[in-house]
Amino acid sequence: MSNRVVGQSVPKIDAATKVRGQRKFPQDFNMKGQLYAKVVWSEYPHARVLKIDVSPAEALPGVVAILTSKDVPVNEYGINIVDQPVLVGEGEKVRWLGDRIAIVIGESEKIAQEARQLVRVEYEPLPVVSDPREAMKPGAPLIHEERGDSNILKHVKIRKGDIEKGFAEADVVIEKYYLTPHVEHAYMQPEAGVGYIDEKGRVTVIAAAQWSHDDLHQISHMLDLPLDQVREIVPAIGGAFGGREDMYIQHLLALCAYCVRRPVKMVFDREESIRNTGKRHPYYMKYRTGATRDGKLTAVEIELISDAGGYASTSIPVLNNAASFAAGPYVVPHAKVDAYTVYTNNAVTMAMRGFGSTQPAFAYEMQMNKLAEALGVDPVELRMKNLLEDGSIALTGNPMPKGVGIKETLRQAALGAGWREEGDQWIKPDLGTPSAPYRRRGIGVACGYKNVGYSFGFDDKSKVIVELALDESGEVARALVKLGASDQGMGAHTALAQIAAEALGIDYEKVRVALVDTSVVPNGGSCSASRHVYMSGNAIIRACQEAVRKRQEALRTGERRVSVEYEYHGRSVRPTTPYDDENGMCDPHISYGYTSQIALVEVDVETGQTEVLKFLAAQDVGKAINPEMVKGQAGGGVHMGLGYALTEEFIQKEGLVKTRRFSEYHIPTVADMPREFIPFIVEVPDPTGPFGAKGVGEMTTLPTAPAIISAIHDAVGVWIDNLPATAEKVWWKMREKAGMA
């Protein structure tokens, strides 16, 4: 049976209002009588607050209130571990620059802005810990004294097989150290919103959020209010990429509304957004990989250290993920992984596209390409010998569930790039002539895989309500899908509406997806882990099937409305388990997406600059619900990966941020993107996914950096093991190689 709507590139559900500029983002909301709030941010990455003097600010005409820690009913929050103060009070510590001392509320934005300059804060600076490797050592200054005598938040260990035996079997061993940096999410819409008390007396927040129902729990805890006394509304979100999974403005808006009982608007400018919100975790990664002469992996030994910054955020779940993916999408019989995440006084680090699968992807793919070089084997061929298949035993001892499409992604990308397949052999294409005598060409390959849905025994679930309105003849006139699934822009609502239309057998245009308002929609789980198509899609299909049955009843009774609520649990089909404490064995993830990418670059041998000429990106999404949206995820993922590889440098010195603006933090412009971009959609179905679908949002970033960096090596013979490969870094490496440095 062919699908009518699923698999079609229907127009996005919100596209028309977005191209007209009518779609409202959080900063576009204004309420009658609203006040304006500004935050007094910490001036130190680590210090004790001695004294806060708000009196000069209070004296300014038009200042309505200045909130300090005393105004917060329960002054703590945190998405995973409750270790963050909402506002830091006298005698307490700031642990990074993004800590808040006070919130100034005034009659106008100008007044609030002026008043915040007048708040006087005295600090006692404390030693700053800015390298997690130093922070791990006994005796390092403690960031969270209340949490024991170490800055180490978590240590994950995996012991598979016999590592000694594995290395004894190896003919070649590659041992290297890699470093991936902080990354700013750089969503185009800075944090903003309005807090107010709604007509039912509920503390209500309008803001961009990735998991509004979890925000509610945190806000209700902070305000010591029952859950039904708080509410969050999520309008259009101007990008998120993981960066809105934690609260950076939602709780502050709630606090303002709670304290002053009037609508309060708050908008961060770009500098506030960069300085004071979370980043991608830097990972320090030590890899030792062994393989036989004929290219079979025998063992890996890995140490991962991640910089959690001043507060935990999701550093532990990110670490869990990183460890489980540390060996890459390969069969490795013997493995040892030790992974740590550590508090420092750097920027808080959190979810960002890939959630811990991105950083090790750089290291394991660099290892594979170095191994290929050491063995004198083509990098595609080496991978083909080791890639996972259905039922392969993964790093954590579990068999891979059906639908492993990684080999197909690599095959398509490699053939697309001009590789020739001759039996088991793969032969690299001719790269053509460089565009200038001082330029060299190179090509690089990388793979990656990423979980879909929450992992390690967490009960991932999505609840949905499907409502049908029937016309006179009993046909479905309209279907409304209600669920708390934020659409940060990737098109979740469009894909879910397509799935609903398909399952109901109605036209896509008849389906509406409700605005995310926690007072109306049930908890769909976060918009993260590439999970909504799979999790919420599964929930919607089942709800729609039930709605179709109920419609038959309605046709008999003459009822014109049908309503069904359904909650889908990932574990009902694919149960996951947490790490075993001793050996780390587990069945970590529900489902997986797979990807392979190939980069053709030119490197300027005199300046070290890299230009990406051509890029091929193959992603196995199981089933493309909307192929153009899948291509959009590929383009966006590669953009982020290219920034990771070449242009983006978030610079901190002793916990202080040096790249504070878009003029200093350089995300790729259109001119930086590969001239030619060729996406491939691979569809190896996951039998448990809706129409076979998996997920796509995150994995498209994983192989980009290692593919580009390996292409640079192919071009000029140097390996850049710490990102990004700026022109200067490549130049120094080339000089070193030439024996001049």
């Binding site: 007209r20 969503y187 990737m490 966006g636 953009h639």
Partner: protein, 160 residues
Amino acid sequence: MPTLKMILNGQEVFVDVEAGDLLADVLRDKLGLIGTKISCGEGECGACAVLVDGRAVDSCLYPALKAQGREVTTIEGLGQDNRLDPIQQAFIDKTAPQCGYCIPGMVISAKALLDENPHPTRQEIEEGISGNLCRCTGYYQIIEAIELAAERLAEKGGPK
């Protein structure tokens, strides 16, 4: 308080402004035209782009009074009646908007480009939107949308 008079999206408007107001703030806060977005606040992203006498400018860096007597076009001024401008339609057809926050600025830059150069090469399209940042798309579908709009406009006999 000075009065700014401009032809805004084809209509003459009068609005009282402070001497130090920037055009973006006047459009958004005083005139309720929220389609003009503010993202970087320093002319580094193009989200706030509007047309002044047909040229794209970053309204977050543009003193409001500079628009005195000028023709200003914001995203809300594109298209006619309820019909979308062909550029807007092409953006929909090519799945160009993701989060959509950069899109009004992108459409404005595309409009400025195609009005001046109805048959741009791909390179010229890239130059035309090189002052507009997008974090979601990788720009490819935006480029395709502008190519499609140019094609369709050519069939209809040029822009406007």
